[in-house]
Amino acid sequence: MFTTGSKLLLGSTVAALIGTLLYGILVGGIMGTVGLVSATAALGTFAAINIFTRDANVSVDDIDAFAGAAAGAERPGSSMWPLAIGLAAATITLGLVTYTAIFMLGVILLIAGIAEWMLQAWAERASSDANHNREVRGRLAYTAEMPAAAAIGLGIIIYAFSRVMLGVPSKASTIVAFSVVAAVVLAVGAFVGSNRRISAPTLTGLFAVAGVVLVSGGAVAGLNGEREIEEHHTTAYYAQEGKCGTGEISADEHASQTVAGKASQAATVVLSDSGLTYTFPGLDQVRSGSIQLPRSSAVNILFRNETNEHRRLVADMAPEVEGSPAKICSQLVEEGGVQLLTLNYPVPSFDPSVEANGGYALSVPGVDGARLEVVVP
């Protein structure tokens, strides 16, 4: 109904009127008030003329042309995509000076904004029927928008949920994750499934509230930070700390359960009452004294404890060689249990630095004489 020019002039007239009233009431002064009244009257007059002439595009007498004038056509639909593109440009700029991730987010937003804006412009020209145009746009856009929106939504839910889980104590998080949440999902599902008369808006509202609660909870938990997570050290750490002794360490739990069924071993070292012996797979011969292992090659030694005590196997390595630990030890193995020890000797056993440290060896703390010299050629 109103042409573009008319809107501008009418808006200016209203603004001038408000300004006149405010000035007249709050400031006073005859000259100023008269001037503003004059301006308001002038703008109102121009607006009226402009409405009458349809932005001066057509003659007022030409009725047919008047109705079909360009200025009289319906304006294009509003679009949020220019705003998104502007936001993307700002994000890209911010990303350039801060983090790559922000930059990439900006680029994605920019590409998405441009694509959506182009799609909207294309759809609006499809026909003169706005509803048909929206349908046309939807057919094309939804194939991408729906999965993207689902992925983003899912990501937000998972991230928020994970923040909550990491924020609460581990036992509580287990209870929440596997009991409370599971029960709520089951209950809601059962309710919705049994109550067929529940309306779509009700369901939407229900899920929206749940979503808001979850995101809020995630935000609060995220700001509070993660709970303190206990660090579990491996035997390598304890070997470095010199704690590969007869005592139990936290890495010793479930020792025999950590050996893979398909573990490939270079030798099986057995601790029995007669001491430390070994066998090579594929060769039925029990050996003792010294064992030959390759250089610069990771080999697995299977340690079997056949004594009544819990025992561990310790390997003396090459502390003087860069990258080589001083010792490596297995977990504490129960009677009849097995454990793997992976060894990699970087230098031969005749290296002076190795000889100076007593050479390579495998031994069992707490058992005198349980020792195998390791020969690395």
Binding site: S264, D284, Q292, D351, V375
Partner: protein, 436 residues
């Protein structure tokens, strides 16, 4: 009318030319096809084929051979029957403009027959195949253990010292045994059941000496077993059969079978203490060059750096640290380089072609003597060895370009270019000639 006759003649002439040309092309294609077929067929008849699975020289290879004969025979007969059947059908029922015969669906007895015949054939093949597979896996009667480790692109062998102080059941004639490390060629005693315990330091390789046994993959972190056995002294060639990078085709290996007495001599030679070259010789200069240029990766057992002084208190044992320079963490041990006939992953011979042929073609009775002579100055393949020392990556494709080693933290895969001078190469060759 005459004009039409000329057109007809011209058309006839064109048709004749086209027919002749087509006939000529057909004839050429037939000749080429027959030539290629004959070439493939005749290549199977090569007598000098060192990697021929049809010439078994060991127990396990014989088992495989005894299996593959009937299997290939049956497969060949079946293949010929099928091809002849197809040919007859294609020819007899070719399109001659005849009416399409009545189409029927299903003939139960024929379908059962076509299922039953292959099933019977496969079952007949499966029974001996499983038996051979189980027989090849037997290791209970092992008499000698040798560790084999693959890396880009060569094989390393180290010999275990048995609890009784012997190696492969052979006690050293003098002194105590110590582990022997060699590469390129693995030496085994004839008539001995040798068990290779194999692994890899970098990527998956595959060990295959066709005349002695089947293939065995060598996987990093795992130990695999392969039996080698032969009663006939000689050299048996093999090749890595798992693609392992740039120089996979140049990753070869040879198994040397020596009569027991010759193996004893070889063992004693390997265990001999290191002898430094005489003072004032080119080889002595080569020793110093070796220490500065090669010893950081290549181990020579017993090599001592006297730092050019007479004070023995300054002597230090030279230990190589290939793990700091080479991605696999290993480089060939060169203690007895000239005792073996190959270098650079058995890609090149250390012997001249004439000397090599003399060793390879030797009778089983003479083989040990000729092999144990090693590489003499007269027999040295000076050309390839010089080229190798001059620029190894130019001779064998390797990842040794310093500018491209970021992914391996600066470590090379293979031997790098060392920028040795010609004088240094002369010195090194003189030094290496004494390593046997």
């Amino acid at each position: 009318m005459s004009h039409s006759h000329e057109d007809h003649e011209r058309t006839m002439s064109t048709d004749v030319r086209t027919t002749r040309r087509l006939s000529s092309v057909r004839s050429s294609l037939t000749t080429a096809g027959l030539a290629v077929t004959a070439m493939i067929g005749l290549s199977a008849c090569a007598s000098n084929a060192p990697q021929d699975t049809w010439q078994p020289a060991g127990e396990n290879a014989q088992k495989i051979h005894d299996l593959q004969w009937p299997v290939f025979t049956v497969a060949g007969i079946v293949g010929v029957i099928v091809l002849v059947f197809i040919g007859v059908i294609v020819f007899r029922f070719r399109d001659k403009g005849q009416a399409i015969p009545e189409q029927t669906h299903g003939k139960a007895w024929l379908e059962y027959l076509f299922i039953a015949i292959p099933a019977v054939i496969l079952a007949a093949i499966a029974i001996p195949t499983v038996g051979v597979v189980l027989a090849l896996a037997e290791t209970d009667d092992t008499e000698c253990i040798i560790n084999v480790t693959g890396q880009q692109w060569w094989w390393e062998y180290d010999y275990e010292v048995e609890p009784d102080g012997s190696i492969c059941g052979f006690a050293p004639s003098a002194g105590e045994a110590s582990p022997i490390i060699t590469s390129g060629q693995v030496v085994i005693p004839a008539g001995t059941n040798v068990l290779l315990r194999g692994t890899s330091r970098d990527v998956i390789h595959s060990y295959w000496i066709p005349r002695l046994n089947g293939k065995r993959d060598m996987v990093p972190g795992r130990v695999h077993y392969l039996r080698l056995q032969s009663d006939t002294p000689g050299i048996y060639a093999g090749q890595c059969t798992e693609f392992c990078g740039l120089s996979h085709a140049n990753m070869r290996m040879e198994t040397v079978v020596l009569a027991p007495a010759d193996f004893q001599r070889w063992l004693d030679n390997e265990l001999e203490p290191y002898q430094s070259p005489a003072e004032g010789t080119l080889a002595k200069e080569g020793e110093a060059t070796f220490i500065t240029q090669c010893a950081r990766c290549h181990q020579v057992n017993g090599l001592v750096d006297d730092k050019g002084t007479d004070d023995t208190s300054d002597d230090t044992v030279v230990v190589s640290y290939p793990d700091q320079f080479v991605f696999s963490g290993a480089a060939p041990n060169l203690t007895n380089l000239m005792g073996r006939n190959t270098f650079a992953g058995a890609s090149w011979d250390l012997l001249t072609p004439e000397c090599r042929e003399d060793v390879w073609e030797a009778s089983p009775e003479e083989f040990g003597e000729k092999y144990l002579a090693g590489v003499t100055e007269d027999c040295l393949n000076d050309i390839d060895l010089r080229e190798w020392l001059r620029n190894a990556p130019a001779k064998k494709p390797m990842y040794a370009d310093a500018e491209l080693l970021e992914p391996t933290d600066g470590k090379t895969r293979g031997m790098p270019y060392l920028a040795l001078s010609e004088d240094q190469i002369d010195q090194l060759i003189a030094y290496l000639l004494e390593r046997k």
